[in-house]
Subunit: 423 residues, 2 copies
């Protein structure tokens, strides 16, 4: 416990120093951190090998071991990630707006770093370097609390980053790694009022719930994505249209089913069922299971290789993260909107349509971070949106929403310039 308290103090001290650094100084320090990672490849890979060995001995699934595993190429990727952050504009000190009051006072709203951030995350070592670099550039010291299964890798990475920051004339105390690996550590972070200004949980539903319920500091919820695509009748008017619709659904479901922006439920307008469902069953055959309501199941008919089960209420609220797609029939755009607003997680929602009014209604009515017209939900991503590195995808509406880059770690202050004004 004591160790973490020392780290809180270090981060707090670093906060004031880092807030005074200009972009050139921050970039120089980050470049030195990248160079230090490059120089310490052997250490980092050796540490990672220990984590991997321990994980396999403990029976970790190979798909998870793969997330943990590092090699030379992946270290190149980590270094490239830091370089992306260096190339990004400095988000600090941007004048968002400004005006002069009748008494001559000039008021300017200027971006400033939010403060000390903490991130609690899964066993991916690249997240360690990405988040450290991104927070540093944003002027926010960061406490990294990675999975205990990646502890040796993270220790080696953070040691290199801190050494690099120091060499580059930067502030090594701005990056700290929580090392006990205990659950108590998480509770200590969540109750660190006055020390930590925001905590970002990344990972499973369970972790996020735990953080939200126990935090006494501001939280940014991330990740859960029960995403929908609504197919409106005008979208399947011609066979070319249908092909486009199928291509989007296939992409949103099959390209990477384990991610939060994959589609989980398809909402089909009753008038589109007959045209769409047989084609859909064909496209999903041997690739994904369908869970249909009665009407859509009847419309799908029987297609060789396509498993179609009856959907239950539970399907509407499930984020499968798997090769499963739920299908529900709706009678109108409003019914689709109502279903999404009830069962969605405010992540990414799409309408496929050629009807302008329906598109407009859907965009206004759906309460989600990203609302798509005629595109796959898979584009919700900080990198794709052009934010460079990504801290995660916020599914809350408070402070920041959707893919989070450095802007999510910004707040602002009002600078007021006078010449003796009194009220």
């Amino acid at each position: 416990m004591n160790n973490l308290k020392n780290q809180f103090v270090s981060l707090k001290q670093a906060q004031a120093q880092l807030a005074m650094e200009n972009a050139a100084a921050k970039n120089k320090a980050l470049a030195a951190a990248a160079a230090a990672i490059d120089r310490n490849r052997d250490n980092i890979l050796a540490a990672n090998a220990k984590d991997v060995e321990k994980a396999r001995a403990g029976g970790m699934k190979e798909s998870l071991v793969d997330r943990l595993f590092l090699n030379g190429q992946r270290i190149d990727g980590i270094i490239e990630g830091i370089e992306v952050v260096i190339r990004q504009d400095d988000p600090v000190g941007r004048v968002c707006s400004g005006w002069t009051l009748p008494n001559g006072l000039l008021v300017e709203q200027v971006t400033v770093p939010l403060g000390v951030a903490a991130i609690i995350y899964e066993s991916r070592p690249n997240v360690t370097a990405d988040c450290a670099a991104l927070a540093y550039k944003a002027g926010c010291p960061i406490l990294l609390r990675g999975s205990s299964s990646a502890l040796e890798s993270n220790k080696a990475l953070v040691a290199a980053i801190k050494a690099g920051l120091e060499e580059g004339g930067g502030i090594a105390g701005a990056v700290e790694l929580a090392v006990s690996g205990s659950r108590d550590e998480i509770d200590e972070i969540l109750t660190a009022r006055g020390w930590i200004d925001v905590v970002l949980p990344r990972g499973g539903k369970e972790l996020i719930r735990r953080v939200v319920e126990n935090a006494r500091i501001p939280v940014i919820e991330t990740g859960e994505g029960n995403c929908h695509i609504y197919v409106e009748p005008s979208a399947v008017a011609t066979s070319a249209d249908i092909d486009k619709v199928i291509a989007i659904i296939v992409n949103a479901k099959l390209q990477k089913p384990g991610v939060c922006n994959a589609v989980e439920t398809l909402l089909v307008h009753r008038d589109a069922l007959a045209t769409l469902m047989p084609k859909l069953a064909e496209a999903m055959a041997k690739k994904a299971e369908l869970r249909c309501d009665t009407e859509s199941k009847a419309a799908a008919g029987t297609t060789a290789g396509c498993t179609i089960k009856h959907a239950t209420e539970e399907d509407w609220e499930t984020e499968y993260l798997d090769y499963i797609l739920a299908v529900k029939t709706v009678g109108s755009c409003d019914e689709a909107i109502a279903h999404i607003n009830r069962f969605g997680t405010k992540h990414s929602e799409a309408i496929l349509t050629n009807d302008l009014e329906a598109a407009q209604r859907f965009r206004t009515g759906v309460d989600a971070a990203c609302v798509y017209v005629n595109a796959s939900t898979r584009f919700t991503d900080g990198g794709v949106f052009g934010f460079g590195a990504e801290l995660g995808i916020s599914t809350q509406k408070f402070h920041t929403r959707g893919p989070m880059g450095m802007e999510a770690l910004m707040t602002y202050k009002y600078l007021v310039s006078g010449s003796g004004q009194t009220r």
Copy 2:
């Protein structure tokens, strides 16, 4: 308890409806609400008279009774407040930024209402109407939880507002008043996850602490203001300069000492003590007590009518809200910044100087919502800043900072327009 649950449901239903209303429709409904208040003056005044009688019978201080009290003129003020909101631009649907991705997808970041708000506030009935109007225009249904001492007044006001909204074709369910007056009610609001999207506590330190510690929904902390003015030596170089400095300090301390943007501690550079302190003691004589550290006390000397006590550590952390000013000697701008960042409440901080470098250092180094150069701290106010009506002044850095108008009740969504793009 059941009543509040019904209100949560009403507010949630209103949320979807209100999000679809355009500015003209919202303004029409608000104008009808103002007209209904005008028409129901007698009811409102009669209800208020009951509250006032009960408050006096219960021994409420007259200064507090005055906050509760309504008359014809104050009702005019309430109506004018709604008209100010009507005249303000609609904050919903503003495109904050937008860009086109390499694949042709158009991404637009557009403001949308945050959701259902709740406000827990002191016994001022004008806050009831102000916040109802402001939230309505922002597209956010609101649960009003006023002081139980203003319950009859609030009931009459909210009944008029709801009737007016209804008549004006608006959504009456978007404004709800919590009526039990019990403390349990507050706890029910604070744990209403899924129903309430943000809660704003307004009032004493005690209430705010309680809300922050118990809330399981996002909170915007407001109000506590331990504000400082730092007098740098160059600010007192000529007698004209000194007069300006004294005028600012007098204004910031004496014009309205009971408000959060009044100054509480003066930080004086050692080299400015001899020039400033005797003039300050003169200006504060018979008006405010000084609590000085040893050096500033010695410099002040003895002035007829000026009470000067020795300051203790406790003075640095106290928001007096009274005719008391603490004075501390510092050796540098950095020492002033460090004192402010340690004891301040991140509200409003000022430097008085003719030195550009000191001004710049102070603006960058001080962590507060509003940082002033050569002006009184008293300008931190939504009305003064030009935000129209004000929800309060945020002293947190998360989501919104400083004076809060309708923008504080906004979030955004990304609207993504495509033509069949897949990843």
